[in-house]
Structures are given as C-alpha cells and as structure tokens.
Symmetry: C2
Subunit: 288 residues, 2 copies
C-alpha cells in the first residue's frame, strides 16, 4: 500500500462524510473550495453554514508534497528536516447551532518521507457546553470498541494522550470530554494502520450522528446559546495557542482559510460573567 492508495481512500471518505452531514441537515449551505499547495498537491475545503443542525462545519481533505518538514510535524524520534515529504489527511470540526449538541473534532493524517520514515496520526474529541453523561458514555464506549478491534492497548493509551493533548494550561481546563488521540503509528504495516484510521473515521461519524439525532431538537434559552458562544472562546484559544495541526499548517505555508476553518462561526469573550453563566460553567467544569 503506497501513499497514493491511502490518499485515494481518504479522498473517497471525505466525500462520503460530506454526504452524511448534508443528508442529515438539508437546510445547510455547502461551500467547497479546491486549493493548490504552493509546492505540489492541494485539497478540498468544505464549509457547511447556517443549517438546522450545523451552524458551521469544516470538512477538509488535503494531500500535499513539500520539501521542508516544519518542526511541529516531527516527533522527537524522527528528525528529518529538509527532506521531501508527503502528507494527506482529513480534518473535521462541527459547531452545532443547538448548545445541547456538543462540538466535535476529528483529524486523521498520514505522513510519508521515505520507505523507512512514515507514520499515521489522528483522533477525535468531543466538546459539550451542556454535558449529558449518556452522550459522553456513548462517545467513549464506541471509541473503546473500535480501538479494541485493532489492539487492546490502544484505547487506554490514546484516551490518555487525548486528555493530555486537548488541555489549556492557562485555564487549567481540558478542552472537552476527550476521546482518542494518537501519533507516530508506524509499528505495523501501512495497510493495518490505514484500516485503523478508516475505522476511526467511521466510529466518529457513527457516535456523533447518534448524539446529534438525540439532541438537536431540544429547546434552549438565549442565555444557554450565549453560554455556548462564550465557551467557544476556549476552542479558539486552544486552536490558536496550542494546536499542533494549526501551527504545522500555518508554518508549512498551508492555506490559512482552510486551516482556520475550524474556528467557530460566532464567539464571545468577556471577563464579566452573570450568576447564571457561573452556574452553567460550574456544572460544565465537573466534566472537564
């Protein structure tokens, strides 16, 4: 299995996922942009906007070839600066309209430098604003089932890595309730790792569509919506201050509009909070 086979599988999956979201939310507007990387390759960025369920989503596919591997893409083990590299991946962020539906994020990626240096990475995590234990349990138990099919050690390790990665030190908060996160997978065959990331995609969609379906019709108040807009600020803070995907993308001269498509549609910041916000937040922080 070579880079092009993996790229093709991800490209197909990207279309399939777009179809699933747009068939769930028939009111949503879809804007797709094809773009070219300044060296070789490019991607398709799809923004979904103003739907019944989805306020904004970014569903992006990319496959690029470059000659300098920015530091942020490298694990400490794999220092191969200034080599030619290929990178392909899918990234998804969904910001739902209803504050009872959590925001979700997925990313899968494959880096290839040479027959000895390549790896797979990815993961998914869930960011509720008004958390429901049922949803969180479903999210994690589906992740565990999926991981266990591949390797009994995966779930525990990848869940821990997810909690460590999606953490805002300046707030002393996790970004959300976690999920799985993995990087530098290269101990098995490419086929096996590729099958794993495809399963990651499928289990993400499966879990998230179940949660959406359960919650998107539930009533919410203006103040609950406002609380969602305010907590979305944390999402922005994480993505711009700490996310390696964002810094890798921007450092490697990636397309800013695509990389930053993960940012929420509307966000509020204020240091002054109402009593109700403080109580909403107190409840949320029990889960983070």
């Amino acid at each position: 299995m070579n880079f092009l086979d993996i790229e093709k599988k991800l490209k197909t999956k990207h279309k399939e996922i777009r179809r699933i979201f747009t068939s769930q939310d028939r009111k949503v507007t879809k804007n797709s942009t094809r773009w070219k990387y300044h060296e070789e390759g490019g991607g398709v960025s799809t923004e979904l906007l103003n739907g019944k369920i989805i306020e904004k989503a970014a569903i992006n596919f990319s496959s690029i070839t470059g000659t300098i591997l920015p530091k942020s893409a490298l694990s400490k083990k794999l220092r191969v600066n200034k080599s030619k590299f290929h990178a392909t991946g899918i990234s998804i962020v969904v910001h739902p309209d209803n504050p009872h539906v959590p925001c979700s994020h997925l990313n899968v990626r494959h880096f290839y430098v040479n027959p000895k240096i390549w790896w797979f990475g990815g993961g998914y995590d869930l960011t509720p604003y008004f958390p429901f234990q049922d949803d969180i349990t479903l999210w994690h138990s589906n992740a565990r089932k999926m991981c266990d099919k591949h390797d009994k050690s995966y779930y525990k390790k990848f869940k821990k890595q997810c909690d460590e990665y999606f953490y805002l030190p300046h707030r002393n908060e996790r970004r959300g309730v976690g999920g799985i996160f993995f990087d530098n997978l290269n101990n098995l065959s490419k086929e096996k790792h590729c099958n794993f990331i495809i399963d990651v995609l499928d289990s993400y969609i499966n879990s998230y569509i179940q949660i959406i379906t359960k919650r998107y019709k539930s009533r919410f108040t203006k103040s609950q919506k406002d609380f969602q807009l305010y907590r979305r600020g944390r999402y922005v803070e994480f993505n711009l201050l700490y996310d390696r995907g964002t810094t890798f993308g921007l450092q490697s001269g990636g397309r800013a509009e695509s990389i930053l498509m993960s940012l929420p549609p509307i966000v509020k910041w204020s240091a002054s909070k109402s009593k109700q916000f403080i109580s909403f937040e107190k409840n949320l922080l029990k889960y983070l």
Copy 2:
C-alpha cells in the same frame, strides 16, 4: 528613579485613563478586578462593557515580581534566565461598537532585573475596519510630534518596528494601520525613558479620543457591523498566534482573564464571503 516610582506613576495614569474613557461614554459598565500574582504583586483589570461608544475595552495595570523570566520577555541581548525580575505596565485595548471607529491598542511596560539590566517598551497601534485617511493621518502625525520631542530618530524607527510587529504572516496582512512600537529602551536615564512612556500614554489618549469623537455617531448598516465582527477575527488570530505580550503573560503564569481581556466581545469566522464583504475587504486591504 526606582522601580516603585515608575510603578506609582503608571498606577496613577491607569486611573486617569479609566476616568477619561468612562466620562466619554457614560452608558458603559465598568468591572474592575484586583488580582494577585502567584509570586508577588498583582494588578487591576478593568473591563468596560456595552457602552454607547465602547462595546468592550480592557484597561489593565499590573506590577509583578517573579523569579523566572520567560524567554518571550527577553531580547537576544539580555539573556538572564532564572533571575528575579520586576515588571510593571499598562495595557489598553478598545473595541468600539460603531464599525467606523477603529479599534485601538496601547501597551507600556518597564522591566527591571538589576541596576544594569532594565528596559522600557511599549507602543500603540490602530485597527480600522472602515478606514478614513484623516484619522490615520492624525494618528501618525500626533505620534511623530510626540516622538520628535524626545528623539528625532524615534518615530521612523518605532513606526517601522510597529509595522513589522503587527503583521499576520499567514494572512500576509498587517493588523491595522500601525503606529509606534519600541522595546529594550535603556540607553538614557530611567527618568527620560519614563517621561517618554508617559508621553506615549498621553498622545494615545489624545489621538484616540479625537477619532472617537469624530466617528462614534456615524450611521452604519448591519452588514458593516458584520464586517467588523468578521475582521475582529484577525485581531484574535494575531493576539493568540503571534503577540509576545500574550505569550509572555500566559507563560509567566499571569492571570489568563486579564491577559485575554484584549479579545473582542463578539467575533465571527467564516471562509465564505458575500460580494459586499469582498468589496469592504478590498478597500480595507489598501491600507493594511
């Protein structure tokens, strides 16, 4: 002149500036928070909210003592990691309600490590969404007059540094129309540098109040307001991706709520733009 004298002057100036803004905008709500730094010292963070002129402003004073100087605070000349340091400063960001009034930012600071190692830094810059040449000319010519009183070489140098600093490489855009920016001032006496930063504060207030007064009553459309919310996204991107003040603050365990008080009250992100937005942006980018 020692650290405490400078701290006292800035503290007084902080109060004076708050009074000026609140007397200009009598509808604004003022929330002040006193906080303590985890080692020694602390600050006063004042958030102004929902005024007639000011949608949100942060007017912050701080004076802290710490034992580790984070890398981001150091110029290359002054590597003194793990020493005790004192830092005091004022930072101001104003996000006006009317999109015809530009957003403004000021920061002045004094670092003291020992009698040989100390410096002053600061500056101010203006970020219009619908630029008026008159305002930009006033802003720069007041800055020049003020600088010229201190050193004929300052304005040209500090304006250039401002343009270089407030730049978003991933967008290939300047943040706004600039102003002045300086760091590591330590060639004259502390008195002289302190007088300079006090003049920086006064000329900022003088210029900005003039611009506010001229523009805050002008009519604007919903789509102009929306364009302001969308362009505020660039402000967030700069502050979280590139601003050294933000990274220094967060790295040194500063109070996140105070450091991030510079972020706008409401922000929108979308990769999809209307024709009108494209035309607003085309006009704005001529100035950036």
